[in-house]
């Protein structure tokens, strides 16, 4: 009994936060989704109106497609790149500490600064990338002006700052038992065989966890897109989502509905749809990965 009191007291910061800033808001957000609500007058119940409105809203579907594009391409890209980088950083060569530092550095740059830097590098006229491409005689697209290239631009920015995943993969690689590799070497296994039969199974739980985190973060992708949209001379009326709304991501459209149009009900409905999507995807990935992931015996 005394222990229960002690436990509750020590956990109280979290308990208060969980009840007030998580659980209550989750319930309220669900409720708001069925109301017409502009943040100033009390919410008015409208049934499924917000949801029907969303399903007939072209911009909603556009934002969904844009987000799927970023998530479905960005996730494998980031994971594959991070794994490759981690494998390289796990080699036994001199100067490794310096390489590791350099690989990680971009990750700690504040998003506002790194996005601004990339907007400059990807600048169609004076940017570093296009200067380089045109010097090489290659096609130099208008990265942030041409709707075809805006999302790939975001993917480039993402890969550049994937250091956290690299560090986690690297630690996982170092945890794989050396005895397994030694045994494989005695049996004369090739590097590729060792990778697919020892390394990959050994780090598969970590890959799964990172896969899920990447997918969840993908759905919530906001800041970089918002900053890029705002950089092209401010938000000029019709184009809330950059060139041809190509950067109108789900979270960006949700934010606009909530805080520009003050359609809090519609935005809450969007939030709950996102919640459901994230839940279903996480569950499906867990289920689907069950056979592919090897958990070491502990």
């Amino acid at each position: 009994m005394r222990n229960t009191l002690k436990g509750l007291l020590f956990a109280s910061p979290w308990l208060i936060g969980f009840l007030g800033l998580t659980l209550y808001p989750i319930v309220m957000s669900f409720y708001y989704g069925f109301t017409s609500f502009n943040a100033f007058q009390p919410p008015k119940f409208v049934g499924l109106d917000n949801y029907t409105e969303l399903f007939h809203d072209d911009l909603f579907w556009k934002s969904m497609r844009n987000t799927l594009f970023i998530t479905l391409l960005g996730t494998p890209l980031n994971l594959a790149f991070a794994l490759l980088a981690a494998l390289l950083l796990n080699l036994k060569v001199r100067g490794m500490a310096a390489y590791r530092t350099l690989f990680y550095m971009p990750t700690i740059v504040p998003i506002a600064a790194s996005t601004l830097l990339w907007i400059w590098i990807l600048n169609g006229q004076y940017g570093l990338l296009n200067t380089l491409l045109s010097k090489l005689g290659l096609y130099a697209p208008s990265w942030l002006g041409d709707p075809v290239y805006t999302k790939p631009s975001l993917l480039i920015m993402g890969v550049w700052a994937v250091g956290n995943v690299i560090v986690i993969f690297l630690a996982a690689l170092q945890d794989v038992s050396a005895a397994l590799y030694e045994a494989a070497e005695i049996d004369g296994a090739s590097t590729l065989r060792k990778f697919f039969h020892i390394t990959l199974p050994g780090i598969s739980p970590i890959i799964l966890f990172q896969l899920i985190m990447q997918l969840i973060n993908g759905f919530q992708y906001f800041s970089q897109a918002y900053l890029v949209i705002g950089s092209s001379g401010g938000l000029n009326g019709a184009q809330i989502g950059g060139p041809e709304n190509s950067l109108l991501l789900y979270a960006v459209y949700l934010y606009h509905n909530a805080f520009y149009y003050l359609k809090m009900g519609k935005a809450s409905a969007m939030a709950w749809l996102m919640f459901i999507c994230v839940g279903v995807v996480t569950w499906a990935v867990f289920k689907g990965a069950k056979k592919l992931v090897t958990y070491g015996g502990e």
């Binding site: 002690k6 308990l15 800033l21 309220m28 350099l102 700690i108 740059v109 956290n164 935005a267």
Partner: protein, 279 residues
């Protein structure tokens, strides 16, 4: 030389080459940032590939201070950041202590919920939380950014829990037998032993708050209260062609973080691996 020595040398050469090329991809944007921040607008518009400016325009940095209240933004950001670091260290360690060193039934219920909330998208709670702060009259102040840090974040609770679990229970039991109360055990024994983990929490919180964009965007509407991220964004929206000044401002914004990183690299890496692995 024997065949295998040659092969080894070749392999080492190949790996260094790949590592150097990748390092360059990571580092050149930084150099480009610094280079641009020191060039004149004239030189920038020549679009050549030289990173080192012909004439160093250190005055670009001084001009940033004339154009935006950079010092003020820095002080604002520091205030929010320091408060958040304090809040996060206190609250997360209290909760982690409850989950590891106090024997009670609730901890078996709380921990899975803590982990589950890590997966909860920010947007699901964003609007109702905003409404709470609006009702309390706190929109436009720093409180909506600071209050949540005093309730512990799942990520840091998780990190500290992993660390607390490595502390031997015998140590705590011995103190209990000696008559120390729970608070004394927590503050005098557990906390001092956990400095590395607490440092990691402090550094992550510092980094997160220093860089946070969405939080300030939601809650700060008065230019005088802007943090650096918002100040930078407003500057970009208005002067999106003055790349010399924009890059100088970005460089000043990034520098403290890079310096901190070099001093605290160890804690960074330990913290990340502690949470990324033992899931």
């Amino acid at each position: 030389m024997t065949g295998s020595a040659v092969r080894k040398l070749r392999a080492s050469f190949a790996s260094h080459t790949v590592l150097i090329v990748l390092s360059a991809i990571f580092v050149i944007p930084f150099l480009w940032l610094l280079g641009t921040s020191l060039k004149s607008l004239n030189e920038i518009s020549l679009s050549n590939l030289t990173i080192i400016p012909r004439v160093f325009h250190w005055d670009n940095y001084a001009r940033v201070f004339e154009r935006i209240p950079y010092l003020r933004y820095t002080m604002n950001t520091l205030f929010v950041t320091v408060m958040s670091v304090i809040g996060q260290i206190i609250s997360s360690s209290l909760v982690a202590y409850s989950l590891t060193k106090v024997e009670w039934k609730g901890r078996g219920i709380i921990f899975p919920i803590v982990v589950a909330t890590m997966l909860l998208p920010f947007q699901v709670t964003m609007i109702p939380v905003y409404m709470i702060y609006q009702k309390l009259g706190l929109v436009g102040t720093y409180w909506p950014l600071i209050i949540p840090t005093f309730t512990g974040a799942p990520f840091y609770i998780f990190l500290l829990r992993q660390f607390f679990m490595t502390l031997p229970d015998t140590l705590i039991q011995a103190a209990r037998i000696d008559g120390a109360n729970e608070w004394k055990i927590f503050s005098r024994i557990v906390m001092p032993l956990c400095r590395p983990a607490l440092a990691a929490v402090g550094i992550f919180t510092f980094l997160y708050t220093w860089s946070d964009f969405l939080g300030p965007l939601l809650y700060l509407n008065d230019n005088a209260k802007y943090t650096l991220t918002l100040g930078l964004q407003a500057f970009m929206a208005e002067h999106y062609t003055e790349w010399d000044l924009l890059m100088a401002a970005s460089a000043m914004f990034t520098l403290p973080i890079i310096v901190m990183f070099f001093f605290a690299q160890k804690y960074f890496i330990e913290g990340i691996t502690l949470t990324g692995i033992k899931g």
